[in-house]
Symmetry: none
Subunit: 200 residues, 4 copies
């Protein structure tokens, strides 16, 4: 009867279902861990039935993989370019802002889960890809043309990128544990990293 276009095509519907399930899973995993979160919990949060889950994911571990892929994609496609677009001198300030934003930049607890499920081959591959992407991103960020760290040697860059990652992870975990991290803490953590001549 109606010639108005259907609001959502079937494929769009399913994509929406998938997105909601991924979002619910991110919450549930952060709250209870991978083993602690049940599929029922996840689907209930998303407002779907158990079966909807298995229409969209092969199994629970596939969900974890896809969730991490989605996170890392967002990081590589959206967040990293946004920081890199900032004028060179303010790069570290941009990193600092990024570290304390509401939506956490890196779901550390998710990465911990990934690490725990590393014994499954399909997970190990994703973990490696996630870590490589993040570290590459940070290295690129530190050595962007015009940066005060642009002239550093390979080892120094690597050490600094790992230091940044350690800071990000530490801050994220403390946030989950209920210890608030303000701008000052971040300044202190980044001070040495930002200084091209940090003493040995």
């Amino acid at each position: 009867m109606s010639d108005a276009p259907t609001r959502l095509t079937r494929a769009e519907q399913q994509a929406r279902t998938r997105e909601r399930l991924l979002a619910a899973a991110a919450d549930a995993f952060a709250e209870h861990g991978f083993d602690g979160a049940s599929i029922d919990d996840i689907t209930a949060r998303a407002g779907f039935s158990r079966g909807a889950f298995y229409s969209n994911f092969a199994d629970k571990s596939d969900l974890l993989v896809q969730l991490c892929e989605a996170h890392i994609d967002r990081f590589a496609r959206a967040e990293l370019p946004a920081i890199l677009a900032v004028p060179e001198q303010e790069q570290l300030a941009a990193v600092a802002r990024w570290l304390v934003q509401e939506e956490p930049p890196l779901e550390t607890l998710l990465v911990v889960e990934l690490a725990r499920q590393r014994h499954r081959p399909e997970i190990a591959a994703t973990l490696d890809r996630v870590l490589a992407t993040v570290i590459d991103g940070i290295e690129g960020l530190l050595t962007v043309e015009g940066s005060q760290l642009a002239g550093l040697g390979r080892d120094e860059v690597q050490a600094r990128s790992r230091a940044v990652l350690a800071a990000v992870v530490g801050i994220d975990v403390l946030g989950h544990v209920g210890i608030p991290i303000d701008r000052r803490v971040i300044e202190l953590l980044l001070a040495g990293i930002a200084d091209p001549e940090a003493a040995t």
Copy 2:
């Protein structure tokens, strides 16, 4: 009744059982997480039966609590005093050494598990105690008489202790994820914290 000298008294036997179970649990939790580790796994690692476990702990959650208490006690009673005994000027170097020692100073993954089980009241209390002990310890360490940071204000001390904790946690997690952290990374992270005049 017995006239042969028992090698270990009953109490010593039980203490040994308890220690072995705690050690096995630390391994199992780090490997699989709290939910992922089964009591059978833990008791098998320790070489005991299910029953031995329930003779020593009320339930699984009690095990987690006792494990954290044991860790934090060791930290407060042994490790912290050892660092504090070092001459003031080398305090931060001692912290650095402490951060990279073989046996990790703080079982970060254990703390993550504690945080996840926070909804249980007995766990929440332990988590608070663990965090308070660690932060107090670090604050004491930073402001020990003669330290270059001794004159800082309350807020600065708090920010720096949280920065140290974030560094410790970040380093520990990266270690678990397979990213090696060497001395240089630690220097970079501590540089700002150690500088009494770190810029704002």
Copy 3:
């Protein structure tokens, strides 16, 4: 609307879909049993989707019924008349040939499934009809005019028809279990049945 001659009419198309699904189901049931075979397995073998199945059959149990009806119809309409058309003296030889033909004369495993689903009324009716058709067919075969068994009493005929059926079933099951049955075995089983004066 269409001016191109459709290769197959709608009805023919559907009949073909139905045939393929029935054939796929026969394979799947023989391989995994009624409960063990999934509709997805059946439709995948037939090259269709779940929906095609439900367009042709009310439910899984309806499929089993229709499959057995199709088998028994083929038996009653094609195979039995073919044997009965053979000259009387060679009837039992024809039965013997029939028993070892490539396409099994009676899907014993299907009958076993029917028996297991007997508690459902529609299944019980089909089972009774299948068994009655087969036994009637065998009795007619044994007592066909001119047969050496034509003069036997009711009880003797019934006993012999059941003996034939037992032989057919036994042979079929052993074939499924991997024990090959050759002509000699069939001769031995039929020898007593074929002898009008088999001792008591």
Copy 4:
């Protein structure tokens, strides 16, 4: 308080549990097939909980294996020797009696299930053992010293043992399907097998 011996030791208790579960499983498998029978159904019939099952069997397929092993052991240890103990001339009469006894001599439906689960390696081994044991038993029975078939060649003995097995299986299946098999049917089936000079 009591110095009377405990009725059942722990090991005896568990053996009883195991026996009851095996008996319940035999019923449930015969009624619903391997896939159709649920563990809950089996344990409920036996009067135990789900967990008791998993204390005694590794999983459902282990249950099937152990059930078949138990059946074949009973056949090889008790039933076959009993028939062989009978005077030679009455051997086939004893077989006939054995075939129609209340407790079926061979759980044919169980064997059908075994055959269906053959793709699992542990099952395939059991199936082979079951079939080999039964066929060996029947061959020994047919060629026992003094038997009228004692002088037959290898091929004839093999053909006759398979014929007996086919008869046993056919009779058993018909019994499950509701077709009663009386002594006369068995006589007819065995007549050719028992005749050393059955025509070719």
